[in-house]
Structure formats: structure tokens, C-alpha cells
């Protein structure tokens, strides 16, 4: 028991090292990150202004409600993008940097290595999402009197576990195909985008796509965030959105690790574990 505890502690220290390294790397390029943040703000605003655009062309909508809904969708989508990017970088970026062989030789279990990547991605992504939400909300006269921001934060945090699981599955793609794997990773992101109701209700989708939406954690994350911020739902009222996220998380994390281990096995068998260029 004591030995197990020591091993776990050592693994956590190793995962902490991965988090620390990502922090150093992010800090190294913080000004470039800020520039990128401005791009994200601009991109998000482009989407949220659609609500005002519809009204100005004669559409009869509740601008406040539609703008808030689009803002939540855009922020969650941007957050998901950060998570996926960090996880894809687990392989793709290390391959480009030339450090991939050493990372895969390190005496750290793959689960803890990926957990380190995931923890940093969640922390950084959530922080960025909060700033993005505030920055964009300032452009609009949005009224959110009953908003339960804490509830929305909890929903997104729980959804992150599932996102990490899916991200781990896609991060293996550059391991299998150094040339095209990274691009293929966007397939998962795109699929989540189209079925999860990021910018429109899931109910507008064809039946078979609505069926797929049931398996997407983004569907529940978006619904939960909107219920909390726009509907002021309490934690207990958010439970119908939370439990599917927990269930999907329980399923996707081990599946993600298994898929990654198979990808690693394939790469080591076929000599794909090497730097690009």
C-alpha cells in the first residue's frame, strides 16, 4: 500500500513537471498568445454580431437572448479548440521540435504524461474562456440578471474530462500519420461542431444528427452553460446536463488512453516515432 502511494506520488510529480513545462512554454510566448487572443475575440465578435445583423435586416428575434446564446457557443467552441490544440501538440509539436523520442522514453506512465497535458490545457483554456467571455460581453448590452456563472463553470469543467478523452484519441493521429495526422484531428472537432448545437439548437438538425448529438459531450456542456447563464439554473437543475457528461467522461478517458496506447504501439512497430523534417 505504501509502495503504491509512493508510486502514485512520484507519477503525480512527473505529471506536475509536464504542467510546469507547458507553463514555461506558454509564458515564453505570452505576447504572441495575447495577439492570438485578440484574433479569438474578433472571431467571436463576428459570430455574436450576427444576432444584431438579423434584427437590423428585419428579423424578429430577442437580440439579447440570441447574442448571449451565440456568445456561449463561441466561447465554448474556442475553449474546445484550445484543449484539442494542446492535446494534438502532445505528439505533433514534439515531433516538430524533435523531442518526441525523449518524451516517449521518459519514465512516466502515458496516463500521467497525458494527464499533465490535459490539466494544463484545462487550466489555460478555462482562464482564456473567462477572459474571452468578459471581453466579448463588453461589446454588447447583454442582460444576464439570473446568470449562474459558477454553475456554468462547473459544467464546462466536468465536460472537460470528456473533451480530454476525445482529444487524447485524436492526438494519436499525428503518431500514426506524421504527414496528415494533425489535419485529420480537425475531423473530430468539426464533427462536434456540427452536431452539438454550438450556434443553433440541436432540434434543427436532421434526426440522425440529433442521435449523434446525444453522444457528444459538447451538447450537454453547451446546454448546461446556456441553462446556467441564460436560465439561471441552479446546480440541481443542471444535473440532467451534468450526469451525461460524467458518464461520457467515464467512458472516453479509458477509451482515449487505450486508443493512444494502440497508436503508440503502431508507431513503435513501424518506426513512426521520430521527428518531422
Amino acid at each position: 500500500m505504501r509502495a503504491m502511494g509512493a508510486t502514485l506520488r512520484a507519477e503525480l510529480v512527473g505529471a506536475g513537471g509536464v504542467v510546469e513545462r507547458n507553463f514555461y512554454l506558454t509564458r515564453r510566448y505570452i505576447y504572441w498568445d495575447l495577439a492570438w487572443f485578440f484574433w479569438t475575440v474578433a472571431n467571436t465578435l463576428t459570430i455574436v454580431f450576427i444576432a444584431q445583423g438579423i434584427e437590423s435586416t428585419g428579423g424578429k428575434i430577442d437580440v439579447n437572448q440570441v447574442a448571449t446564446s451565440l456568445l456561449i457557443g463561441a466561447v465554448v467552441w474556442a475553449y474546445l479548440g484550445v484543449l484539442f490544440e494542446f492535446l494534438m501538440e502532445t505528439v505533433a509539436w514534439e515531433r516538430w521540435e524533435g523531442t518526441i523520442e525523449y518524451t516517449f522514453m521518459a519514465p512516466l506512465s502515458r496516463a500521467m504524461h497525458l494527464a499533465g497535458q490535459g490539466v494544463f490545457a484545462i487550466s489555460y483554456g478555462l482562464l482564456r474562456a473567462v477572459f474571452l467571455f468578459i471581453a466579448c460581453a463588453l461589446f454588447f448590452d447583454l442582460s444576464m440578471p439570473d446568470a449562474n456563472f459558477f454553475g456554468a463553470f462547473v459544467v464546462i469543467a466536468i465536460a472537460s474530462i470528456s473533451f480530454i478523452g476525445i482529444g487524447v484519441m485524436t492526438s494519436v493521429l499525428p503518431l500514426i500519420s506524421p504527414e496528415k495526422g494533425t489535419q485529420l484531428g480537425f475531423v473530430a472537432q468539426g464533427t462536434l461542431l456540427v452536431v452539438s448545437g454550438v450556434y443553433y439548437p440541436v432540434s434543427v438538425l436532421p434526426g440522425w444528427m440529433q442521435f449523434l448529438a446525444k453522444f457528444s459531450p459538447a451538447t450537454y456542456a453547451l446546454a448546461g452553460a446556456r441553462n446556467a447563464i441564460q436560465g439561471g439554473a441552479s446546480m440541481s437543475e443542471l444535473w440532467p446536463d451534468i450526469w451525461p457528461l460524467i458518464l461520457i467522461g467515464i467512458f472516453t478517458i479509458p477509451l482515449g488512453l487505450w486508443v493512444f496506447s494502440r497508436g503508440e504501439h503502431y508507431a513503435k512497430k513501424h518506426g513512426k516515432l521520430k521527428r518531422s523534417g
Binding site: V13, L25, T99, E101, M105, P107, K268
Partner: protein, 333 residues
């Protein structure tokens, strides 16, 4: 007798490499029926290395050296045979194995390009679970030994190749590995830097009794560090033995250097004159005739000075690499 640090038995690595003829027709056909060729990168090699030994692993480009080192490091799964390092199977990725070996590749980096080396060392401390006090002591000692105190605070990408390699070596040795796989650690470095790295490796081996398997295209590295060499070509071992024995086995000639009293005599009747520098003439003679030619020179000429040597190791290696493997690769569809 102690257990070997590295034991390799019939180690095999086969890659299926896609290939096709040029042209649109062949490209279209390849979409339906992919043609591959089986390449035996490492073809059933066997050797073992005792603890504390420094062994040169030589071969031309594509001989199978890096593939072997990657299999010994657990980065590549063998197609067959067995490899044991410190009694453990590399492909199993056991913690006890990974924390006792290191791999330094001259054309790769473990240090993050954008960060000062010190930050990457911190990651290694966490991953290898080196206690803080021990880590600081080892890190500072290595930094001092390699003389890079002023460099470790700069982003790695601002370092020269030689400086980067020294910083890489510090990172690779922080956990005091018992087995070092060094894959061309001096590639691209100037002579002074090469010497410094050689001296460092020799010192590390002497102090910690570490086992070293070294590949290098610089024979000076091998001559300075390795008493034993394993020569691999086309994935097969051509020679495994003392470096001094390499010339005996593969060189068909020796060189005789001679200086004569009269200086200008024509010595071509004794052997092939390969070099003449002032009074000093170097002859190449068949190995079997070395004694008789030497005796004739001494009897027939007024010899001031004479020495008999094996050919330079570079020439011997060139001879070894010139050997061809008879076996043709298999083809499959």
C-alpha cells in the same frame, strides 16, 4: 561473472517500405494494389556488452546502427529476437529500465528549443524523481564539467551546435544513467568540442562505471574511447572484437615508413609508394610480405629509420564497409 549490461540475441527489425514505378499509371495502380518491399534494417544480430565497457558501434549510413539503438532504448519494437538491457526488456517500458538508461542523439534534442536548458532540466528532475538536493548537485557538477555555466540560462535555440550538444549531455545524464547509448554525439562539432565531449564521456565511464555504446563516423571518437568495436553493415554484424584486431582481420596490407641515408632512392620495387614527404617514404605492402620486405629494406638500403604500422583506422573501416551482403531483399505485394 556479472550479467551483461546489454545482451542482444538474433535481434531483427523488418520494415515494409512502399515502392512503385514512376508515372500516373503506376500511381493509380498503387491506390488499389500497394507494392511493398521488405527491408531488413537489422538482420538477426547478436552481441553482449559487459558492465562498464565502452563499445564502438560502427557502420555506414543505413547500416542499422540507429535502428538497433532505438530498439535497445525501447523506441522501436523488434520484429524478432531478443534484447535485454540491464536484464530488462526495453519494449516493456519498465520504470526501472527507463530511469537507468539514456540515449543521446547528435541530430535530435531533448531540450525544449524555446526554453533555457535549466527549465528542461527541471522537467527531467520531476520525471526522473531526482531529489532536489541531489539534482542541484549533479546538475551543477555537470554544468561545471562541461563549462556551460553561461549558456544554460539562454533559450536553447540561441546556442551553437556544440553548446547545444553539451547542454543536451547534461540533460541526458542528470539521472546518472548506468547505460549510455550515444548516437553520433559529436556530429557537426569542431575538433576542440569533439575532444571535450570525448574526454567527458571517458571521465563519466571511469567515475561511474557506466556502460557505453557509441556510434560515430569520427574514428577519432572511437579510437579515443573504445577498446572494442562492433561493425554492422546491411543490418548484419561483420566484426565484433578489439579495435586493434580490426586491421588484422580486414586490412590486406600494412604500411612501412622508411627514411634512407641517401634520401632519394626509388623504393617502388619494395611496394606501392603511397606518400613521400622529404626523406620519409611510406610504402603499402601486402600483410603477408611485411616481414620479408622489411628485411630486404634493411639489408639492401641504408636505412636511417623505419616503422611498420597497420593502415589508418579510417582506411580499414572503408574496407569493411566495402563488403557486400550477398542476400537480396524479399519482395512482397
Amino acid at each position: 561473472m556479472s550479467e551483461p549490461s546489454v545482451r542482444v540475441e538474433g535481434l531483427l527489425k523488418v520494415f515494409d517500405v512502399p515502392e512503385r514505378e514512376a508515372g500516373l499509371k503506376a500511381a493509380a495502380k498503387g491506390l488499389v494494389r500497394r507494392k511493398t518491399r521488405e527491408i531488413r534494417a537489422v538482420d538477426g544480430i547478436s552481441f553482449s556488452i559487459e558492465p562498464g565497457e565502452v563499445v564502438g558501434f560502427l557502420g555506414p549510413n543505413g547500416a542499422g546502427k540507429t535502428t538497433t539503438l532505438k530498439m535497445l532504448s525501447g523506441l522501436l519494437y523488434p520484429s524478432g529476437g531478443e534484447a535485454l538491457v540491464l536484464g530488462l526488456v526495453p519494449s516493456k517500458r519498465e520504470r526501472d529500465f527507463l530511469s537507468r538508461i539514456t540515449l543521446v542523439m547528435g541530430n535530435r534534442n531533448q531540450l525544449q528549443w524555446d526554453l533555457p536548458a535549466l527549465d528542461s532540466y527541471e522537467l527531467n528532475r520531476a520525471i526522473f524523481r531526482i531529489p532536489q538536493a541531489e539534482f542541484t548537485e549533479i546538475r551543477d557538477e555537470l554544468i561545471e564539467l562541461l563549462g556551460i555555466e553561461d549558456l544554460v540560462r539562454k533559450p536553447v535555440r540561441q546556442l551553437s551546435l556544440g553548446e547545444r550538444m553539451k547542454a543536451e549531455i547534461v540533460g541526458a545524464l542528470l539521472h546518472r544513467p548506468q547505460v549510455l547509448f550515444l548516437d553520433e554525439p559529436t556530429i557537426g562539432l569542431d575538433v576542440t568540442m569533439q575532444k571535450r565531449i570525448r574526454a567527458f564521456v571517458a571521465d563519466y565511464n571511469a567515475r561511474f562505471g557506466a556502460t557505453v555504446l557509441l556510434t560515430s563516423h569520427y574514428m577519432a571518437d572511437v579510437e579515443a574511447l573504445c577498446e572494442r568495436v562492433v561493425v554492422i553493415h546491411h543490418g548484419q554484424i561483420l566484426f565484433d572484437g578489439a579495435l586493434s584486431g580490426l586491421a588484422d582481420r580486414f586490412a590486406a596490407y600494412k604500411t612501412i615508413g622508411v627514411a634512407l641515408e641517401n634520401g632519394k632512392a626509388d623504393l617502388s620495387r619494395y611496394g606501392e609508394v603511397i606518400h613521400a614527404d622529404g626523406d620519409w617514404v611510406t610504402l603499402r605492402v601486402p600483410k603477408a610480405e611485411t616481414s620479408s620486405v622489411t628485411a630486404r629494406l634493411l639489408a639492401e638500403e641504408e636505412v636511417l629509420d623505419l616503422n611498420v604500422e597497420d593502415p589508418p583506422i579510417e582506411d580499414v573501416i572503408e574496407l569493411v564497409f566495402a563488403q557486400e551482403r550477398p542476400q537480396a531483399p524479399h519482395e512482397s505485394e
